[in-house]
Amino acid sequence: MPTTPENPFADFDRVSSELYGQWERGMTSWWDQVLDNPAFLGTMGNNLSAAARARQSYETAVDESLEKAHLPTRADLVRVARIATLLEEKLLTVEDQLLATRDKLEAVEKQALLARIEAAETRLELLAKLTEMDAKLDVMTTKKPAARKSRAKKDS
């Protein structure tokens, strides 16, 4: 963007942007060489290791002094909190089992219900057949008196 009376710093913006781009490229390529260098990484690893060991020593020292003063140490508190977590885990395992049992009971209940529905349907079907047979019988009985009549005639 060229410099205009409205934006007298346009060139400055462009130049600073280019300078930033160059700086970023330069830094990136330099850091790339450093951060992927096994020697550098080895040194960083040693520093990290030393820092971790120092932290461990510090915490051990704090715990020892608290223990000497007959006070609960950090390790004690951590242990108690871990036990609470494990207890919660056990409770959740029981909850899992309860839910699984409930699932099974629901499945059994569902099966029982289905069986009852099936039995009711069978009974209804039988009832329908019986009604049908009844109707047929009724038809037959309405026809039969004629036969009986003839038999009566014979008897007489």
């Binding site: 080895g42 690893g45 839910l99």
Partner: protein, 343 residues
């Protein structure tokens, strides 16, 4: 003038006042520090989605701001969302093993999510989404409990750890004192994690402020910048023993690629999971390069579709492409469910 207001803005600590993770939700299950968060849609029309977040950051990156929220996009599509937030481990969690999370906490959270979804939405299945290391844990869990989800999407999830760029170089057995770190610090410290990620791109910190300077007049950008600052400054400790196992198995031995990650007494073989998977990798991801994420296709037991979308490892979560891809995936799930119902 501009420099003055820029300095004034930064001195006001904009990140501190940024509001993130604002979508209303309820907590339906808790285990240790982890919580299962339920986000209800206005109209549930899709299969519920279970999201497994990474252990090292807060969940709010998936619900950063209104209009820049994965959770919001899924809710708008009609999917009930269940999000697993691992919480902040304390010193008492340094002995938590990976198997406790992969075989215990994660499947249990999925089970509770499905039970809730069955009760609330008459759902019978879940679709799962895993982000970053949350995706790695989800993959391991699904390989061991494949019945837990109908389909799964992995967002920027490392699978081939040897293809993890600079992180793979740093997490080398010869130079990284894993045992000393875990024995000394207990949990892997969040501050160390944050500085490690910052040093992956040394000029990134300067570029961040340059970006703000360039778009300082854009109020929306400033809101986003402050929200990102708030999220990125809030890393979480990684439970020590779990970190030891994870780094040894995944970074040192690349065990997910050959199925040799032994959890409990059983190896984790990703080929045992045959549900369809979607891999969403980001073009500019320097933490999980596309090669690391797309390697899932080589080891997963089911069909794998890979999409490489524009963005960086974190940037994809607040961009437009990831919500779009996930919403399309959700919609395709509804179609396949319809087809199955018709069949």
């Amino acid at each position: 003038m501009r420099a003055t207001s820029f300095a004034k803005y930064l001195m006001g600590s904009p990140a501190r006042s940024a509001k993130i993770g604002q979508t209303p939700h309820s907590i339906i299950h808790r285990e240790n520090k982890a919580t299962l968060r339920y986000f209800a849609p206005v109209n549930a029309t899709q299969v519920p989605v279970f999201i497994c977040m990474p252990l090292i950051n807060t969940w709010t990156i998936f619900d950063l701001l209104p209009g820049r929220s994965i959770v919001g996009a899924l809710l708008a599509e009609g999917a009930p969302v269940y999000l697993l937030d691992w919480g902040r481990p304390g010193p008492e969690d340094k002995d938590v093993r990976a198997v406790e999370l992969i075989d215990g906490l994660l499947p249990r959270a999925m089970d509770r999510a499905l039970r809730h979804a069955t009760r609330e939405h008459a759902a019978t299945e879940l679709d799962a989404v895993g982000y970053c290391v949350g995706g790695t844990f989800l993959a391991a869990s699904l390989a061991r409990h494949p019945h837990l989800a109908r389909r799964v999407a992995f967002v920027a999830t490392p699978i081939d750890f040897k293809a993890s760029g600079r992180l793979a170089i740093w997490a080398d057995e010869a130079t990284f004192p894993l045992d000393d770190v875990v024995d000394g610090f207990g949990n892997f410290p969040a501050a160390l994690m944050k500085s490690s990620f910052a040093w992956l791109r040394p000029t990134g910190q300067v570029a961040k402020f340059k970006g703000l300077w360039d778009r300082f007049e854009d109020e929306d950008f400033k809101v986003l910048w402050a929200a990102m600052e708030r999220w990125s400054s809030d890393n979480i400790d990684f439970p020590g023993e779990c970190y030891r196992e994870y780094v040894r198995a995944c970074y040192f031995n690349n065990a997910l690629m050959d199925g040799s990650w032994v959890l409990g007494n059983e190896a984790t073989d990703l080929s045992k999971c045959t549900i369809p998977a979607l891999v969403l990798a980001a073009t500019g991801d320097h933490i999980v390069p596309p090669a690391s994420a797309s390697a899932l296709a080589q080891v997963w037991g089911g069909h794998v579709e890979t999409q490489v979308i524009k963005g960086g490892h974190v940037g994809i979560s607040i961009g437009k492409h990831l919500p779009k891809a996930l919403v399309a995936w959700i919609a395709s799930g509804a179609e396949s469910a319809d087809m199955r119902a018709q069949a």
